[in-house]
Amino acid sequence: MTTQRYFEDIAVGAELPPLRDVLTPRRLVMFAGAALDFYEIHYDRDVARAHGHDTLLVHGALKNALLGRFLDEWTAPGGGVVSYGCSYRGTDRPGTELICRGTVTATHHDGDRGLIELDIRVERADGTVTTPGNAVVTLPSRG
């Protein structure tokens, strides 16, 4: 587990440490069961090919969930995700490295809660952004 980050230490423009992961076909099948998404394009190569793809596709929702983990790990244990979302602009294939990145765009208080706004994205190893989004997270105060 990482050390707690605090609201006061976060500046606009700061980059979050990237999260790198390789989603194997096994992970896609596990996610299909966890998300109850049994669309064959994510685990049956014949079906994926019949839809014009050269191989399986990573679930958009899995990339969304990976961004959720990226934010969760940055805020844990004392902070958390308030809202987040992403657009599925490009498809990704299993077995390749995906990188979650984030940039702080604003910080403010809502009552005594410290909120941090972020631009987030999933990109490929070559830098192509396939899944841009944004988020609001909360971090505890040093006080």
């Binding site: 966890a34 958009g60 969304n64 969930a65 969760d72 995700v81 809202s83 979302g85 657009s87 989004g133």
Partner: protein, 166 residues
């Protein structure tokens, strides 16, 4: 409620009278059970190593009464033997019979409280907006929907999603 995007050559509305009727109307509620085994499986699939999603004693030390659900996990819908899994609530395709294919455009989650194992969430979904445009894949209907997940009648999570039918 149809916006014609600048540059899009939309000659006829893809929004049917039935779709206009559906706009803003709640679909029948769908019940979701949030279970520990579902949380653990989601956590493994997504790659979490934080024990809070696996170990009840760790979750309790961190102030949770049960395993918390990671972002995006809202449990599993209750389904019957005669239902296609995931078919309850607003459909993702078939609103306009001319458009047979569907793309997932995006998903957003807004949390009002933490979801935990043992929660029973009641989800009510509705379509909130239709847009249409002409794209490289032909006429596209861009559908926004919103699903409110309530626990004991109180909203806990709001999910908003975009699907593109073409």
């Amino acid at each position: 409620m149809v916006e014609h995007d600048a540059g899009g050559l939309v000659t006829a509305s893809l929004v049917t009278a039935e779709m206009e009727q559906l706009l803003g109307r709640d679909y029948p509620p769908v019940t979701y059970d949030v279970e520990r085994s579902g949380i653990r499986l989601w956590a493994r699939a997504v790659g979490y190593t934080d024990p809070v999603y696996y170990d009840l004693s760790c979750a309790r030390e961190r102030g949770h009464h049960d395993l918390p659900a990671p972002p995006g996990f809202l449990g599993h819908e209750r389904y019957g033997a005669d239902q296609e899994i995931g078919s309850q609530g607003p459909p993702i395709r078939g609103l306009n019979p001319r458009l047979t294919r569907s793309l997932n455009g995006g998903t957003e989650y807004e949390y009002h409280d933490t979801v935990h194992a043992g929660d029973v969430l009641v989800a009510t979904g509705r379509f909130t907006n239709y847009r249409q445009r002409e794209g490289s894949i032909g006429p596209m209907l861009i559908i926004r929907r919103e699903v409110v997940f309530r626990r004991d009648g109180v909203p806990v999570v709001v999910m908003r999603a975009t699907v593109i039918n073409h």
